[in-house]
């Protein structure tokens, strides 16, 4: 590693983001009986499927336009039309969600026109999102595809009165998190449509039968009906706000932007918003869960209070995580995301400063090289982020709590929520235990204690 200079300005070294299409693919998997389709060469599609497969440890299917040189020169219209025809004939999805790749974007294929000219069987739909990989990140791609669901599908039936129901756009989170958000919402007695919804798609049980379209996912009809709901909650500004705004514009459904409910405050906000807007009664169970979180925070605060932590990953996960570790009395010393957006720096910076911490670095569009350089200058006690931080963790001998996307070297995480009060408990457990295990490993014999 070079000495002295610590910034690099061109390109990325050890990125903490990836490209748009994979986000679009993930979002599309949250529609019932949907086959995501990658309009580009097959390599991209294979990568995206493989990466999602590695994270979720479940099969991920998607078709591709299989571009070769011909398509790259003459445009991909013919490929896409053939693909749409083949996919409906062979794989029989209800809906195909097409996303572009850098290649088809560079060629400039006009997707709406191509789709209009395609043979789409009665009752089936094709939607699309433009997901050029040279803009934004996988989060942008997710956001674009969720927005496409609204622009293509959502509708407002003039005659009907608005249904007493909430639309929830959960953001780029694991199926377990979506499940938890649904559990909280229904325990308040509020009707909902969550979209996209990857529960029962990417966390499906083993049955010795392979379902190309597992039970889960929001149906096309449900997405259509979101236009008749009374309210939309867009969880996570980067992944969900665009779709929420589009739904407001198209169907007049008001949208409340919230954080992904990670941590005490963000979970409170979700529950209080539902309570207010729907006159809901917070059930005793939720109050009890919240009390358990506070109790646990007191029981364990001395494990982590004052410890310095570096947090990296997707903005919608990192922002509420920073909020929560501040609640825990930890010091978020370095915070980065690979996704562009000045708002990230402002928002995170404001939270940290409000907590009276002055010595910190926040960077949007950063990479793990940056983070590593800063850590070399001044280390931290803990890393929180995806699998890619494991190289820093090992070199600098810092424990790593794996949170976010992707996690490629551990299992079970897609089934365990970090959202809601349950998620708070899990985060506290992971953070405390990582620090305590480190203490047990490093301490002198005379300090090795049975009770901590």
């Amino acid at each position: 590693m070079p000495e002295g200079e610590v910034v690099h300005t061109a390109g990325k070294i050890n990125p903490v983001k990836t490209c748009q299409p994979i986000g679009a693919m993930y979002a599309a998997l949250g529609i019932h009986r949907c086959l995501p389709h990658s309009h580009g060469s097959q390599g991209c599609c294979a990568y995206h499927r493989m990466h999602l497969t590695r994270h979720f440890r479940d099969p991920v299917l998607a078709s591709t336009s299989s571009f070769t040189e011909g398509a790259s020169v003459f445009g991909g219209a013919a490929n896409l039309k053939t693909a749409i025809k083949n996919v409906f004939e062979i794989y029989k999805p209800d809906i195909i969600a097409v996303h572009t790749t850098c290649l088809s974007e560079t060629i400039g294929d006009d997707l709406p026109t191509i789709i209009k000219q395609s043979e789409v069987p009665e009752g089936k739909v094709v939607i699309h999102a433009n997901t050029p990989s040279y803009q934004g990140s996988h989060i942008t791609g997710f956001s674009n595809m969720v927005k496409a669901m609204v622009t293509y599908l959502a509708a407002r039936d003039e005659e009907t009165i608005r249904k007493k129901r909430v639309n929830i756009i959960p953001g780029f989170v694991n199926p377990s998190d979506m499940r938890e958000i649904k559990r909280i919402t229904s325990s308040l007695g509020v009707d909902m449509i969550m979209f996209p919804d990857t529960t029962n798609v990417l966390d499906s049980p083993l049955t010795a039968k392979y379902d190309m379209y597992p039970e889960g996912g929001t149906t096309v009809e449900e997405i259509r009906d979101t236009g008749n709901s009374r309210l939309t909650l867009a969880l996570g500004a980067w992944s969900s706000n665009a779709a929420g705004a589009a739904l407001m514009e198209k169907c007049g459904v008001p949208c409340v932007p919230l954080k992904v409910p990670i941590g005490l405050k963000a979970t409170d906000d979700l529950i209080m918003t539902l309570k207010e807007k729907f006159d809901a009664v917070v059930p005793d169970d939720l109050t009890l869960e919240r009390g358990q979180v506070v109790d646990t925070l007191i029981d364990t605060h001395f494990h982590y209070q004052g410890k310095k932590v570096a947090i990296y990953g997707d903005p919608d996960i990192v922002v509420p995580l920073v909020e929560f570790v501040l609640t825990m009395g930890m010091i978020p010393k370095y915070v980065i995301t690979g996704t562009p957006g000045k708002a990230f720096e402002e928002q995170v910076g404001a939270m940290i400063e409000e907590a009276g911490i002055e010595d910190y670095i926040v960077k949007a569009e950063g990479d793990l090289f940056d983070l590593h350089q800063w850590i070399k200058e001044e280390s931290v006690d803990l890393l929180i982020g995806n699998t890619y931080g494991k190289y820093i963790a090992r070199t600098e001998d810092i424990p790593l709590v794996r949170v976010g996307f992707p996690i490629l070297d551990r299992a079970v995480h897609p089934l365990m929520p970090i959202t809601g009060y349950k998620g708070c408990l899990r985060l506290i457990e992971m953070i405390s235990n990582a620090l305590l295990e480190r203490r047990d490993r490093d301490c002198l014999d005379e300090d090795y204690e049975l009770v901590l």
Partner: protein
Amino acid sequence: MEHDCSLASGSSGCISERQNSIITTGKNKSRIHCADDSLAGAVSQRACVFCGARVVLNPITDAIHLVHGPIGCATYTWDIRGSLSSDSEMYRHSFSTDLKEKDVVFGGEPKLAACLDEVISKYHPPAVFVYSTCVVGMIGDDIIAVCKDASERHGIDVIPVESSGFLSGNKIVGYRAAAEAIMKLIRPKPGEVIEKTRKLNFLGEYNLGGEKWLIERYLNEIGIEVNVAFTGDSTVAALKQAPGSCLNIVQCTGSMHWVANNLEKEYGIPYMDVNFFGAENTADSLRRIAAFYGDPEIIRKAEVLIERELARITPIIAGYRKKLTGKRAAIYVGGAFKAVALIRQMKDLGMEVVVTGTQTGKQEEYETISGLLSEGTIVVDDANPAEIEKFLLDMKVDVMAGGVKERVLAYKLGIGFVDHNHDRKECLAGFDGAVTFAREVYITTCSPVWKHLKESIGGV
């Protein structure tokens, strides 16, 4: 009972256009179609040209591998191989020019040049490989010129790898791009003389799980030295010594035959194919290498080693064989070389191979494969998940060997799985590897967990 695909009821092979890519040994004499492009709308398992190039070159451990393109290509190929290094860990970093819209519109050359300056002056690598991706090919960046300039500026090898993904839907094109890059790297500069030695080069060996180290131990024991492996645990300096060898042994033929041929043409080094997967193959390969040297002492030592190792592992393998005899296996891997080796090993374990497929097999290779299999076995090129599912269930497969996408599919069907992909972590080569392989097959085929599955499905 015929099992229908979960998707298209009625279409027996799932996709009629793909009928020619599937054969049943013994039944039809038709030749398999394997070089066809994937069908638009098919759920192909194939990867891309860039991926092919990257997997071949990435194990050059002290080089910087800079991916010129948008971020995704670099992220997805970041440290995805199980190739181990005995020294530098540089190859485990992920470098990308992270092209933005501006670069796509105005050209990415300035950014590439800036990135090269930055990484070279920060890390001082002995060489940089610059991979071109789809977009770069489309916008027409002249990476050859940018690399040449950077090379002159910094006095190191900066080698372009022309691996734009859309060039073909086939990894083989990427292998070739990598091969050309390697040839460029090792060609001595004018006036430079590489001394000839009695050492051999080991081509198509990527040191997955330390496999190169193991085979090198065997070779050293019988009195043969390895000059350099292509590219497992190799360094730029070591590769540059390649022309000084007296023999090239080639393991992964798909990626390295072209290189071997060219080394023969340019430097007069003969080559032979070897295969260190499975005990029989390992013994056979060692014997042939020893015979090439023609030294009675080497031949004697080889026999001693083979006898000792076989005596050591045979009883262990027999133990597994007892548990595995009669089980039915499926193989779906990237290249035919691996498929052939796996068929032999599965048979050694008393298993019956009932399905075999590859992503990139060639016509002759499929003929070899068919020759090894008994009548009624399914052989398939570039299968999609629906076909794999159908064959696994139709043929009542107990265990499958394949790559990461097949793993989760097999598991969902309640079928055991062993990884034989380029990202696996276990050493499966040589005599020890044969034991590890047997253990892996045993663990997954005979896992107690399958019992619970059957119970829960039977509705206990």
